[in-house]
């Protein structure tokens, strides 16, 4: 699979936002001045109360820059601020990571349509792992029930609600396919969404302005918008979070599957692959010749959804 490596190299050099130190200094001064000003305004100069602290943190968060322009210290600082804010806002002790990609890793996914029986354990695991909005019933993973004779999820039923397995039906899971040539990235006016070197397409929730152009551009319906503030019961919040992954989103921003970046960058499987009782979900490093996903791609008949659009997704379907 050295084609992916080649493209990988190209991807890293192009499209990286250039760093502008003057801009950075300017924004930094702005944020400090603003934080100081607001703190002064709220409690007449005496600092230290939680309300002032929150105000100050929020101001600094508001004026922070795009994640990809941050130095490692700045990334650490924002993560610390967000952890503190989670404590102040919700009273929870979050561990937020900003771990970067590993060298020589390109994630890929394969889905076995002859094994999946439609239990939807993957959906449930994803909802819990990624702190998905319970009120709006957000789901990154959808499973479509298919009749024989079709291979296109658009022909299936994504709303089925009955006991499985069912005779003469098969199932196709869909989610964000982490396209190499992703229309959503091209569309975003603020570069708030991009593809990481390990192939994960992520969103900086704090940078997204919520225009939803990426949602219109995605041919796989891979994106979800926060129409209101997402609601997750406090005791169900997953505290192991990643800045680009399952940290709490806010109203008005886009979100999507991140291949469970908070797990996979630590060498674990995504929650959906972990939860699947039938072993239909294969996840791994496309650059590792001994990985299971490489075995599937080399030995099974695989196909991808809407191949004609040239999006080059990193998600394959296969049959036993």
């Amino acid at each position: 699979m050295d084609f992916s490596k080649k493209k990988e190299g190209r991807m890293q050099t192009e499209d990286m936002p250039e760093k502008k130190s003057s801009r950075r200094d300017f924004m930094k001064k702005m944020s400090i001045a603003a934080a100081a000003g607001s703190a002064g305004l709220v409690v007449g100069g005496c600092s230290g109360t939680p309300a002032t602290e929150k105000m100050g943190l929020k101001w600094e968060e508001y004026f922070k820059k795009h994640y990809r322009l941050m130095t490692q210290e700045e990334k650490d600082a924002t993560v610390t601020r967000l952890e503190r804010l989670a404590k102040l806002d919700r009273g929870i002790d979050v561990q937020m990571s900003n771990q970067g990609p590993h060298e020589q890793v390109l994630f890929g996914y394969a889905f076995n349509i002859s094994r999946c029986k439609g239990y939807m354990d993957c959906v449930e695991a994803c909802v819990k792992e990624n702190n998905l909005d319970r009120r709006g019933k957000t789901q990154y993973v959808r499973v479509f029930e298919m009749d024989p004779g079709q291979l296109d999820p658009t022909a299936g039923d994504g709303q089925y609600h009955h006991e499985v397995p069912v005779k003469n039906k098969f199932y196709m899971g869909v989610q964000c396919f982490h396209c190499e040539n992703a229309p959503c990235i091209k569309a975003c006016p603020t570069k708030a969404t991009w593809r990481e070197p390990d192939g994960i397409v992520v969103i900086d929730y704090d940078w997204c302005i919520g225009c939803r152009y990426c949602l219109a551009a995605c041919p796989y319906w891979g994106r979800r918008f926060n129409w209101g503030d997402p609601e997750v019961p406090k005791d169900e919040i997953n505290l192991n979070q990643h800045y680009l992954g399952n940290r709490m989103r806010m109203k008005g921003v886009m979100e999507k599957c991140t291949f469970c970046i908070q797990r996979t960058r630590k060498g674990k499987l995504p929650a959906c692959a972990d939860a699947c009782p039938t072993g239909s979900r294969v996840f791994g490093n496309l650059l590792d010749p001994n990985s299971e996903i490489r075995f599937v791609l080399a030995n099974k008949k695989v196909f991808r959804f809407k191949e004609d659009l040239g999006t080059d997704p990193k998600f394959w379907y296969f049959m036993d």
């Binding site: 658009t154 994504g158 939803r212 319906w221 926060n226």
Partner: protein, 413 residues
């Protein structure tokens, strides 16, 4: 009302403000009504700001609704001012030159509405600075949305500064100096086409949405705008003719009518061509069109709208094409309203919503705007009407005065 000339920019602005706000009782009522609608819109928006866009009828499947539909339509209206600017400045058409300022006022109002619609549609309006080049990250040239931002703001600048300069000169009883504004007029003509095409490309450039991914979208957009835009301008002219002493020649209506009929016919031909393509060879990609015209899987909320739109479209075109009254203002008003409404529904709702249905995963849902969403939309329309009024009213006073001076000078010779 005093119209004696004072000097300087401050006097110009304060006089304009005074002329804009004074008027008879009907005018005061009209302004009060606008303020009421704007106030209701602001209230509704405060709700949206607090609770998020979930107070609208939009969903992850139909993720753009009333706001973006109206945005799209009013880009067309804004661009249509060029149909007056081109003959007035380039072809030196005397009649149209007298009303070109009104066209420009309508364009500015439409652009203000466009920018407001975009802003209320955003999930994070406080984060707009993220797309200001320099302090934010501007994804140019990759994202068509950044192009659209550039051309819309540029067009707004052109269409405000040129008339401002001309009025400022006229206010002081001078003739504007050609080389100081003519280049910008030329520029604004190309620019008008570009705001249109860029906005069409916003949709046309998405292979994910076969309903939009159609090379005819841009041109058809242009044709429908060149019918709807002059129709709006005609409505404004009729209101001015009926309610003020500002003289508006019947010739102007004749010329506008010609423009409208030509564009409306081209629009209908292209509509027909599109309908043919969608339904003669019925492919998977025609499902959106089927949803729009006939409904899909029992969902048919757009069907009555689109047929109303098409009927009004044809009716308006016919009324304009065969005018037995020879430009009776009341007759023209009916024709303009029917054509305008037809294109409004067709280019707004009828263009945006079906692009989302069925979803890329084949799911069909209906979209109905919420009351708050409608209130915000109406508030923005009222704000646009207010801007147009505030611009046109003083402009007319200044133009009248200039004409009286010219008339007096001519009589004295």
């Amino acid at each position: 009302m005093t119209t004696t000339s004072r000097k300087g920019f401050a006097a110009f602005i304060s006089d304009c403000a005074r002329w804009a706000l004074t008027g008879g009782i009907a005018y005061k009522l009209y302004l009060a009504a606008l303020f009421g609608l704007i106030g209701a819109g602001i209230y509704a928006y405060s709700q949206q700001f607090q609770y998020g866009l979930r107070i609208t009828g939009m969903s992850d499947i139909v993720s753009w609704g009333l706001y973006i539909s109206n945005f799209t339509f009013f880009v067309g209206v804004a661009a249509a001012a060029v149909m007056l600017i081109l003959p007035a400045y380039i072809l030196k058409d005397k009649d149209l030159h007298k009303v070109v300022i009104i066209g420009e006022g309508v364009a500015v109002g439409a652009l203000v509405m466009c920018l407001l619609f975009i802003t209320v549609d955003m999930g994070g309006p406080l984060k707009v600075w993220h797309m200001i080049p320099g302090i934010g990250l501007f994804n140019w040239p990759s994202s068509i949305l950044t192009w659209d931002m550039l051309v819309l703001n540029g067009y707004l600048a052109l269409n405000s500064l040129v008339p401002l300069y001309i009025l400022y000169c006229n206010y002081h009883g001078r003739n504007p100096v050609g080389w100081k504004y003519k280049p910008f007029v030329f520029l604004s003509i190309f620019w008008a086409i570009s705001i249109h095409m860029t906005t069409a490309f916003l949709y046309q450039g998405l292979p994910a949405r076969p309903f939009w991914n159609n090379p005819l979208l841009g041109p058809r957009f242009l044709a429908s705008a060149f019918a709807a835009g002059p129709a709006v301008i005609m409505m404004v002219l009729i209101v001015i003719k009926e309610s003020t002493s500002y003289p508006i020649d019947t010739n102007i209506f004749k010329k506008l009518k010609r423009i409208i009929v030509a564009s409306a016919i081209i629009n209908l031909v292209m509509l027909f061509s599109e309908v043919f393509k969608e339904f003669y060879t019925f492919t998977h990609h025609s499902l959106s069109a089927q949803y729009l015209f006939f409904g899909l899987e029992g969902h048919n909320s757009l069907v009555p709208w689109i047929w109303t739109a098409i009927s009004l479209n044809i009716l308006g075109t016919l009324l304009f094409a065969f005018d037995p009254t020879k430009c009776n203002p009341k007759y023209l008003m009916v024709a303009a309203i029917s054509l305008f409404t037809g294109i409004w529904i067709e280019k707004g709702f009828g263009l945006i919503i079906p692009g989302f249905v069925p979803s890329p995963l084949g799911e069909v849902v209906d979209y109905t705007p919420s009351i708050l969403e409608i209130m915000i939309t109406v508030g923005i329309l009222a704000a646009g009407a207010f801007v147009v009024t505030m611009l046109i009213k003083p402009a007319l006073v200044i133009e009248m005065r200039l004409r009286e001076q010219a008339g007096a000078a001519g009589g004295g010779e």
